[in-house]
Symmetry: C2
Subunit: 454 residues, 2 copies
């Protein structure tokens, strides 16, 4: 009998790994309807685990899509806060299957890494929480906080039904703060606090010229070329110093203060030139590439097309030209406001002789940020450091996690992102894996974290 949770996790490591392997062996691919049965199987795995270790409530809740696992643990300590633990049991498809060294649903350890689809995103990290809850129950007989568990099955397909469920059952999911482990650290064994995520919004620009492709000889010189009109519009959105020229784009943008700049300066800057294969990095004037990606708003063309794209030449004036644009937003920016400003700017720049339409993408999200010196964050950083034996670094991320924005929007409570993945995990790609070091030290981090609420 182990005397404390950390000892329990060490003593029972093999059993826990076997348990995790059973979880990872279930092909819970949410996008493929032929795995409907396996989705229930994976949900049941979580539900049964919670039930077995003594959660007062452990249910599979139906949605209009894949089911969601909901659990409740009520701590004997009347003053204990309530945490909402969010994660997902669904995984990405495995194609191209040929590129996997070993079967994606036959977990295999190689060179200190556990290879399996979902090992990092997110079944592996969800299981670490389940194991830590188990360790507390089996040793202390209690978890130091009240826990609400929400493990969904549709994260990889856009969490289609989660927002409706959260809205509908707002009180059920009400908590004092949220913990999510569905992200990563900046490097192996480098504990990392992710205290901010960007929001995003998107538009599509369609430029309609002639009603059909025209002979560039017979009509070149008589009509406006929509591809050229689009080029002028796009070039007018951003200058060569990577500053967005749309009026009011930077209104209310929360400036990166010197405290944050210091925090960020401890993050080892990725070797962008190597990772991205570019000749040099570029960033907004006055900011490093890291600061720009983490904490400054960006505007990117994601795609564009017009006319002929095959081999050789086809001498036409295209009838239409299109571009897709997304912006990543920081705190202070409102997605709808940004869409409106883009639209206004673009329509004002539309040249004569073509018709310009701006289509606003529906899926948008505000940025999320918690104060890096918030007590809940401080506790997390200390727990990381204790477990990994290394100073925790603080970062914000250019990416977006819609559920974070929804939870923030619905509850306005702090969200603690306790990620243990590493940049080498190959999420969504063949040969996804998770370091066993992260598995061990991550669970230890969680034990320290919950203990800090005692």
């Amino acid at each position: 009998m182990s005397s404390n949770p950390i000892e329990y996790l060490k003593t029972n490591r093999d059993t826990l790994l076997t348990d995790l392997n059973n979880f990872l062996s279930i092909p819970s691919v949410s996008t493929d309807s032929s795995f409907k049965k396996q989705m229930y199987e994976a949900a049941r795995f979580v539900q049964e685990h919670l039930e077995r270790i003594g959660f007062q409530k452990a249910e599979i809740e139906e949605t209009d899509g894949h089911p969601l696992v909901y659990g409740e643990y009520n701590c004997p300590n009347a003053d204990a806060p309530t945490v909402l633990f969010y994660g997902h049991y669904d995984v990405q498809p495995v194609d191209p299957i040929d590129e996997w060294t070993t079967d994606p649903f036959t977990p295999t350890i190689r060179d200190g890494r556990l290879y399996a689809r979902g090992s990092s995103d997110d079944k592996g990290q969800v299981f670490m929480h389940l194991a830590v809850f188990e360790a507390f129950m089996k040793t202390d007989g209690a978890i130091p906080v009240n826990v609400k568990v929400c493990i969904e099955g549709e994260e990889e397909i856009g969490s289609e039904h989660l927002y409706a469920t959260l809205q509908e059952k707002k009180e059920q999911f009400q908590a004092d703060f949220v913990v999510i482990s569905d992200s990563g650290m900046v490097g192996l064994n480098q504990p990392t606090i992710l205290y901010g995520l960007k929001g995003f919004t998107g538009i599509e620009i369609d430029v309609h010229g002639p009603s059909h492709d025209l002979h560039s000889g017979l009509y070149g010189g008589a009509v406006r070329n929509p591809a050229m009109a689009l080029a002028h519009i796009l070039a007018g959105l951003k200058d060569e110093q990577e500053i967005v020229t749309v009026d009011g784009f930077y209104n209310n943008v929360q400036e990166i203060d010197s405290f944050e700049r210091t925090l960020m300066s401890h993050v080892e800057q990725e070797d962008y030139q190597k990772t991205c294969g570019v000749s040099e990095t570029v960033s907004e004037k006055g900011y490093t590439a890291l600061e720009h990606t983490m904490a400054r708003p960006t505007l990117e063309i994601n795609g564009m097309y017009s006319g002929y794209q095959g081999e050789g030449t086809k001498t036409i004036i295209p009838s239409i030209a299109t571009a897709k644009i997304t912006c990543r937003l920081v705190p202070g920016q409102d997605p709808e406001d940004i869409q409106n400003r883009l639209e206004k700017h673009i329509l004002a720049q539309a040249p004569s002789g073509v018709t310009v339409n701006v289509k606003k993408e529906k899926l948008s999200a505000k940025a999320y940020k918690v104060e890096p010196n918030h007590p809940l964050i401080k506790k997390a950083a200390d727990s990381y450091t204790k477990a990994f034996g290394k100073e925790t670094v603080y970062m914000r991320m250019g990416g977006s996690i819609p559920v974070v924005e929804w939870l923030d929007d619905l509850y306005g409570i702090p969200i603690v992102l306790l990620g243990f993945g590493t940049p080498e995990d190959r999420l969504h790609s063949p040969n996804e894996s998770f370091p066993l070091d992260s598995f061990d030290k991550g669970m230890e981090t969680l034990v320290h974290y919950w203990n800090s609420f005692k």
Copy 2:
């Protein structure tokens, strides 16, 4: 027995039409190798016609592709000039066959038009010349000029082997001037002298950014987006007044003089807004749309692409962006010089962080122009007017005919474009047709033209 060629053409109209129908019934589709036999059949039709009416030479010459018909007629008048008559017996494919009202190779008359593939482009117009030569031989016993005939079988596939043949047998094809009937008039029964064609040249711009598509959240702000870089480059090629901003682009451009402007002003301007489905026409500052398309150089984007082009959004920074551009050139401009200037301009504009390549298209052509008041052109205009009973208008065309540039390049002799097609002929499309009015009055025009050399 008819007393003169015009009477002969009228008396024998039915027989000639039957002959033409036999020619049009041969499916001489040059792009489809399964019609190889029919290509010879069509060539033989021309060769046998020349032989039958008394040409001293009438041969089928092999090339590395489809054969070419060569004929020679030596006029008794020792002072008569020598004309090289060029045309082509091959036709475009007929797809989509379902859209033809009647079979493309079963010539059918409806509403004063002869429907068949090749009726306008170019078998119908070639046959008119054959019929007129016949009419002269059968009535006057002679054609008023020496004639060299060159009817090729590869025009619709780029005249791949013609240039080599012309170069190789330069003396054989040597003449005082060239006559081609492979173009059109601005409208039905509106005689039109086409006295200039544009040249062309093309480039492709490739902008290489990151070595692979990047996550726009994680890397947006650290690397240069190649689509945005391309937009800046393209926008820098032309201003909103449709003036090309490439240094030296307009060097040596032959200005449209007031005489030409007066000539052009008699061309009824096409209703571009209706034909092209645009809200308004645009043209180079200082020029009408007609002048711009006919006689000013143009630069058009024919196609461009980058990144994601499907439904919805894919939040990437694309790895590459590409655009295809062609310029239509006027007399004074050299295609190679223009390519070099474009390349220089573009590379100078390339922003940091991306690699820009300019690929020069091989197929280029200089513009062609004959003086509109050249005696050979004046004779043609007068002949048109006599036959159609209407003043001839003068125009230049924004399109290019490579063979014209080659003949000009090799021989430097005047090229008279005696076209009889109309804008409604639907060349290259289903239901190609040719007006019987053009057939009758066109042949009459040719009789007047040859008579003017007596």
